[in-house]
């Protein structure tokens, strides 16, 4: 369904994403891990077409997404929702309006300027908020919400787009462990219940291991690992993060229960390096 | 009694810089005659020159009759009229001319009823004072109250603006000045219309005269009363003899062909002063 073909992004002399090729056959929950600067964000932004690729192609159900322009490109963006680390909501607007922004692509510019949304959309927005457990916050301003709530509003906005795919760029990096868990649970539930594909950049191994069906490891813009979560050993992680022997997973863990768990060192990994 | 410099104010009707240039020769002669620096000033409108004379910042100017009246009414001790321009035919007068566009169908003041009428500058004799008195005398019901007889009465700011405003159709009719000699199609021999024609600004075929005033006395060249007598005498003599001395310079200063200047006194303008008093009050 989604095929990435030698996708490359260069910023001047730097290559942020370096000929990444990946194939996704069916909707799955996919985690991308990698150190800061590995190119995770750039990769997701290219898929959403927020950033243009330097080379390579993204093919979704037969369409070359990289070649889309103008209206068609915006149409693609509306089918492939994005969630950001900093939520990227409109802070001065109320929660429902923020969720309704998911329908912008379908509505005329003029109508949205005057706050004209069909009643059905408004109701659906509240249902989505309710599904994420924050319907009570509906009339509040987005900036009045806690981080975890804001991220759920962002997810609601994504769902409002009724997307084929949800891209999440470190969705829990600004959240405390408690809220992180709520958000990741929501994403997983959406994947399972709606069957939508979810690709999430994650900066902690245990989150990836716990929530994802498939984990992709990036380093210096290249894919250095692609496998099942159980293949993600400490050794593989060291490769991905380019860390020394003193690397310990718990140092970066956000899982509430990590402290009680043992790293399952027995798993085997498929590393590309 | 000594003066440190001599300041000549020049009235509108031309590009500010053109005016200063036309007077450059007079400036030289003055410096030579008085032995002090001479400066030229071209204020933006009549009022600028009047204020300069009243405030003592301008020593000599060629005023319009109404502007002289305004100066006199504000301070009778401010200036002395000394000379007046003499036309080629020996007269010292000119006329206020009312005109309209041919295609508006207006040919007389009667047809101006309900239409927009334009004056020039409020301090202009032919552009405001005289027509505002004589036009109402042309018909029983005519008054100059905006909205009463005319649809509206406006001030365009000056003769040039009036001509262009009428030619453009911004206003239906207006008044400006001319010597009323020569041919209408040339814009007469001299006056604002002639200048506009010469500049290619209007086509006289498109305009029609609808009114003409009685003869208006040409405005005086005035000197500030407070000036030392010898300065006044020297300047009067200089300008009086300008035509004989340097014809080109006289042409420039008088803005056209003339027979030169001749002496004039306050009494010539008494009627204009009375008129101004009647129209504006005080």
């Amino acid at each position: 369904m989604l095929e990435i073909d030698a996708l490359t992004k260069r910023f001047g002399p730097n290559t942020a994403v370096d000929a990444v090729s990946l194939t996704f056959d069916k909707p799955a929950m996919i985690g991308i891990i990698g150190a800061s600067g590995a190119g995770k964000s750039t990769f997701l932004r290219m898929v959403n077409r927020l950033t243009d690729a330097t080379e390579g192609r993204i093919i979704f159900e037969g369409t070359d997404v990289t070649a889309l322009k103008g209206k068609a490109r915006r149409g693609w963006q509306s089918r492939c929702a994005m969630i950001f680390q900093q939520f990227n909501l409109v802070p001065r607007m109320d929660v429902v309006s923020n969720v309704l922004h998911g329908t912008l692509n379908r509505r005329s510019t003029l109508a949205t300027m005057f706050n004209v949304y069909p009643e059905a959309d408004i109701h659906r927005a509240i249902e989505i908020l309710d599904r994420l457990g924050i319907a009570e916050q509906a009339p509040k301003r987005a900036e009045a919400l806690s981080g975890g709530q804001q991220q759920r509003v962002a997810i609601a906005r994504a769902l409002m787009q009724d997307p084929a795919m949800i891209l999440a760029d470190e969705p829990i990096a600004s959240l405390d462990p408690m809220n992180a868990q709520i958000v990741m649970d929501s994403l997983r539930r959406i994947h399972e219940e709606d069957g939508r594909m979810v690709i999430a950049n994650l900066h902690t191994l245990d989150t990836a291991r716990r929530y994802c069906d498939r984990v992709i490891g990036m380093r210096h813009g290249r894919v250095v690992f692609d496998g099942r979560p159980d293949q993600l050993t400490v050794g593989v992680a060291r490769d991905i993060y380019g860390a020394g022997a003193d690397f310990s997973e718990s140092a970066t863990s956000t899982d509430l229960e990590t402290l009680d768990r043992q790293p399952d060192a027995a798993a085997t990994a498929k590393a590309f390096v | 009694q000594e003066i440190e410099e001599f300041r000549i104010g020049i009235l509108g009707g031309e590009n500010a810089q053109d005016r200063l240039n036309s007077y450059a020769c007079l400036q030289e002669y003055t410096t030579e005659a008085l032995g002090v620096e001479t400066k030229l000033f071209a204020p933006a409108d009549y009022n600028g020159v009047i204020q300069g004379l009243l405030g003592g910042t301008i020593d000599m100017a060629w005023l319009g009759a109404s502007a002289y009246a305004a100066t006199y009414l504000q301070d009778p001790e401010a200036v002395d009229p000394v000379l007046v321009k003499v036309n080629l035919d020996g007269t010292i007068g000119y006329h206020s001319i009312g005109f309209a566009r041919v295609d508006s169908g207006i040919t007389s003041l009667e047809e101006m009823e309900g239409k927009v009428f334009g004056f020039g500058d409020p301090n202009s004799t032919s552009g405001y004072l005289i027509p505002s008195i004589e036009i109402p005398q042309a018909g029983e019901e005519i008054t100059m109250e905006p909205g009463a007889y005319f649809g509206d009465v406006v001030f365009t700011g000056g003769h040039e603006q009036t001509i262009v405003a009428v030619a453009n159709g911004d206003i239906d009719g207006g008044v400006t000045w001319a010597d009323a000699q020569g041919n209408w199609e040339d814009g007469y021999n001299s006056g604002a219309l002639r200048k506009a024609v010469d500049a290619g600004l209007v086509d006289m075929n498109e305009l029609v005269q609808i009114w003409q005033s009685k003869v208006i006395p040409e405005g005086p060249i005035v000197l500030r009363k407070a000036l030392p007598e010898d300065v006044k005498a020297t300047m009067t003599e200089l300008v009086d003899g300008l035509h004989e001395r340097d014809e080109t310079c006289a042409y420039n200063v008088a803005a056209g062909e003339t027979l030169g200047f001749q002496p004039v006194d306050h009494d010539t303008y008494q009627s204009v002063i009375d008129a101004r008093k009647a129209v504006i009050g005080n």
Binding site: V96, N115, D130 | G9, N15, A16, P43, Q51, N183, E206
Partner: protein
């Protein structure tokens, strides 16, 4: 998930909220729209569209980048005259005439595009217009006789006293007194040198590197002199006028700042020695600001007469009010910490101001002053037009006489450059001074 009841109430609540928001979203534009409709009629926009004279716009536009050369025959004397823009100072010197004029007895003017005007014997004229035919005209006394038919196209205006023909190549007018041909050319003619100058028509390379053209003077000196004293464009006067305008802005702005600074201390709550005086000072600021530069200009013109000093004073008076207000606000916002630090060393009151207050407000004040310097350059243009000085007067007068549009264009370009220059200079100074000032 919460029960259906609360979800439904949430839905109705939010729907109501959105109805309200939509109402306000529509209300503001509606009010503005209603206001515009009112203005549409109050300003008589429909009438305006009718009255707008696009011919004038065309004249203006074409005149501003082109010039015309007049060929005039005095119909009584038969004398021919050639001049640029019909001005005396643009007259071709005796014996010279434009290259597109030929013939001795019959003077032929080639307007281009096969349009030809022939001045025949006496008062007769022949005009060849391709696609229209040959127009013959002759004057007898005041009457103009032509072979033109009753019905003429709209670009010809005929009466028995005057004939005017306007073609794309040029214009011809015939009256009893004179026959005149205007030939239009792009560019500003005589911009560098008038006909009197020996450098007129000489290529730049000849002037720069060639032999002396005028044996009296070195080429470059002479060229600069003649350019500077060009009677047609008067570059010297224009430069003086610009200088006068900038001078008004400079004197007015800095004069105001110098006067306003001590007054601002008296007007600031924190520093005013007497509170009643503070109130008075504030009202004075409001008054001079409220009266506006325009009225100050008129009031001061009586006392000081026309000229740049009057303009500078008008700016000075108004800006003293503005600066007074801005400065005293800045003074009220100063931080107490620094003042207290200086005070704790036993500093005297003046020293307290010097070191506790001035360093804090200087950047704010300077940047304001420089900002006003730029905007006052623009005001000085307008004030000059009223009080009689600077480039503003030249510009407004040139516009009001409505014929020298190329000069208007020249002045406008210079004014825009002047304001942009001041903007640039003040921006640069601001950046520099604020970085290193004490």
């Amino acid at each position: 998930m919460s029960d259906a009841m609360t979800l439904d109430t949430a839905k109705t609540d939010i729907s109501a909220l959105f109805r309200r928001k939509r109402l306000t979203a529509f209300a503001v534009p509606s009010v503005i729209l209603a206001y515009f409709v009112y203005i549409f009629f109050a300003f008589d926009i429909p009438g305006l569209a009718q009255r707008a004279d696009w011919d004038n716009a065309v004249t203006l536009a074409s005149d501003s980048w082109s010039h015309k050369v007049h060929v005039t025959r005095d119909n009584s004397s038969g004398e021919m005259e050639y001049s640029v823009e019909g001005e005396r100072k643009g007259n071709y010197p005796d014996g010279q005439r434009p290259a597109w004029v030929s013939g001795e007895d019959i003077v032929t003017v080639d307007l281009g595009g096969d349009h030809v005007v022939r001045f025949l014997d006496g008062t007769a004229t022949e005009i060849e217009i391709p696609g229209f035919g040959l127009v013959e005209a002759r004057t007898e006394g005041r009457t103009v006789l032509t072979n033109l038919p009753e019905a003429v196209p709209e670009w010809i205006s005929v009466s028995d006293r005057r004939v005017g023909i306007t073609t794309p190549e040029g214009r011809i007018t015939i009256t009893g007194s004179k026959t005149e041909v205007f030939n239009y050319f792009p560019g500003w003619e005589l911009f560098f040198f008038t006909f009197e100058s020996p450098y007129h028509g000489q290529p730049a390379t000849r002037i720069l590197f060639g032999d002396r053209i005028d044996p009296e003077r070195a080429n470059i000196v002479g060229a600069v002199q003649d350019f500077w004293n060009n009677a047609m464009w008067r570059h010297k006067d224009v430069v003086w006028a610009i200088g006068e305008t900038i001078l008004m802005a400079f004197l007015g702005t800095f004069g105001a700042a110098i006067i306003a600074l001590p007054l601002a201390f008296l007007g600031a709550k924190r520093f005013a020695p007497v509170q009643a005086a503070r109130f008075g000072i504030r009202r004075i600021f409001d008054f001079v600001r409220g009266v506006d530069a325009l009225i100050w200009t008129v009031v001061l013109a009586r006392a000081f007469g026309p000229g740049p000093m009057t303009g500078a004073l008008a700016i000075l008076v108004t800006d003293t009010g503005t600066f007074g207000k801005i400065f005293s606000e800045a003074l009220e916002n100063v931080e107490e910490k620094q003042i207290e630090g200086v005070q704790s060393t036993g500093a005297k009151p003046l020293q307290r101001y010097r070191f506790g207050v001035i360093p804090q407000v200087v950047p704010v004040l300077l940047s304001q002053i420089l900002y006003f310097l730029e905007s006052n350059t623009r005001s000085a243009t307008i004030i000059g037009a009223i009080t009689g000085g600077g480039i503003g007067l030249m510009l407004t007068q040139a516009i009001q006489t409505q014929k020298d549009w190329e000069e208007v264009a020249y002045y406008i370009i210079l004014i825009v450059l002047m304001v942009m220059l001041m903007d640039w200079v003040s921006g640069k100074l601001r950046a520099r001074l604020i970085k290193r000032s004490h």
